[in-house]
Amino acid sequence: MKKISRRSFVKTTAVTAASLSLFGLAGCKKTEQKPAATQDAAAPVAESAKTGHTVVIAGGGYGGATTAKYLKILNPAINVILVDRNAEHVSCAMSNEVIFGLRDMSEITMPLKRLADNHGIDFRQAEVTGLDKEKKVLKTSAGDISYDKLVVSPGISMDYDPALNFTEDKQAKYPHAWIAGKQTEQLRDMVSQIKAGDTVIFRTPLALYRCPPGPYERACLFGNAALKKGAKVIVLDPNPQIMSKKPLFEKAFNTTYKDVLTYIPSVNVTAIDYDKKIVKTDKGDFQGTLINFVPNQKAGELVFTLGLVEEGKKWASVDPKTFESTLAKDVYVIGDAIDSAPVTEMPKSGTIANATGKVVAENLVRIFAGKEPLVPFVGNTCYSLVSETEGIWIATLYEYSAEKNKIVTRNGANGIPEAASVENKVNGHSWGNNILIDTFM
């Protein structure tokens, strides 16, 4: 109710609000002050301005965009070049809300040129094709780019199982929508067609995958759609149990959705009959009207192209103290693409990509100023919906432990709420809007 009334006010207040916010900032002088990050090291800043340190960032998602923005905030003298194959980034966080009609696609679509213009970042829309580690050159479809430091943040790609014959070409009809974009809209349109008597078959990805609670949020929202339309949902989870916020999702499955949702853990899909829409598994065959198969995952293709993945691995190995690649000096990998299990308890989340982007930005500024980098200190917040009206969250503080050589939970600061609530949903919506702006504006 409140939101609707606020929305109706937007158009009339926009101009006033814009001018007022400018006045509100009048006391803060934009260009005359020194970048404070290096306040106590004025000389190195001048040096960096002269020698023009260049940081090249490949990938404009939560990790890359945050790194680019915070480098410029901390030291505008650094030359920051952001490369992405797309003109805009579509946020995977909150894309479940778009699929189920709770947010508009435009709200999660972030033009990278806008970010670049706001902060003096050099944005180049190009395909990255290779890396010369010795000469420190990133090769792209728009030419070679020399760097002092390279930050790579490509997110995930799909790790298809050849036995299932589920590849790119199948996705016109069977969008996984686990990388937000066109597929998000495709799945949204399919969801809007769900009708009484339909059966949704939703296969969640095997860990490790992007966004640990994401599959269970989507399961709940499928459940919510099923309740409204008189349909059913079968959740096929290859994992032995719910992988995040377990008691809260379990409660939603067993109460709110108990009549419409069947959750089956430890199940392996062995074949898909695409014509008859039958998913065959080691626990029986399931026929549905809508199949949402989310494949298993690996690091974004880019880190494979650049030779940043160790033999036989699916993710890029990094030093947990710095996020520097174990395979290339002066190259840093952040976000979902890192081989997280050996080096950190952190999840593959947008918030972590954002937070580690800030850590890397801060440390590159320190290194250019002749200071020692600091070990990672980050937090993760992730909100999920369990219905249209109620939300939940997880919160964890992390710090690098020298003893374990791993980024671990700090002082037991980790938790989930006792129950889902409207308050958590409202706060979650604010979190979404704020992190989008903190990252992409």
């Binding site: 409140k2 929305r7 158009k11 916010s21 404070a36 917040t381 600061a413 938790g415 702006i437």
Partner: protein, 206 residues
């Protein structure tokens, strides 16, 4: 409709975030411990949405006290309920020492205060402005919602609206049993509806 609104809102935000500049004399330790907070509270603590408060440019003592009051205290090995209600803040604050909280309060209080550009309900704003209870608020918080004489009193002029209203309800419903909560006892005499209007009015101040 939603699309055009988001675009409008975003274009407003461009103005505010572009101008969110790093100021001189930063507490670098505070920035390090608190930098990730901006993913929820906005860049340099300038929130753009309505429910999570702006903390950049907030009065330092209030910031520190708020964090200390939301931090669970352990007595005889048992975790006590914090004095101030929170959802997830109690989890994060468990991980910080008092000195670290002090550093974060120092850093965030030194950031520019960016009054909310969140679209407000102008009927409510007008109602709040006309409220007979307005003076009850301004006598401590100042006519512009920014009493600079007492850093323990929060800056509320330009704070985001849903947070302000929720804060008032928390005082009213004894969810903020903090040292200075008695100064907010008077909200118990004010209806929820009127509190909402007052919150909206203070959000509109710059």
């Amino acid at each position: 409709m939603r699309k055009s609104i988001m675009i409008l809102t975003l274009s407003l935000l461009t103005i505010t975030t572009t101008a969110t500049i790093v100021m001189a004399q930063e507490n670098e330790e505070g920035r390090r411990f608190g930098n990730f907070c901006s993913s929820c509270h906005g860049t340099a603590g300038a929130a753009v949405s309505d429910a999570i408060p702006s903390i950049g440019g907030q009065h330092k003592d209030f910031l520190k006290n708020s964090m200390m009051d939301m931090k669970p205290i352990v007595v005889d090995g048992k975790e006590q309920a914090p004095k101030r209600y929170s959802t997830l803040m109690k989890i994060f604050l468990k991980g910080y020492s008092e000195a670290e909280i002090e550093a974060m309060a120092d850093w965030y209080s030194s950031r520019p205060w960016v009054p909310t550009s969140y679209p407000l309900n102008q009927d409510l704003v007008a109602k709040g402005k006309a409220s007979t209870q307005l003076e009850t608020c301004t006598s401590c918080h100042g006519a512009n919602g920014n009493n600079v004489e007492d850093a323990g009193i929060p800056r509320i002029g330009g704070q985001v609206p849903t947070y302000l209203y929720n804060a008032l309800l928390e005082y009213k419903n004894d969810k903020r049993m903090t040292e200075r909560a008695s100064e907010m006892e008077l909200v118990k005499e004010i209806s929820d509806e009127e509190l909402k209007a007052l919150a909206e009015y203070f959000s509109s101040l710059k």
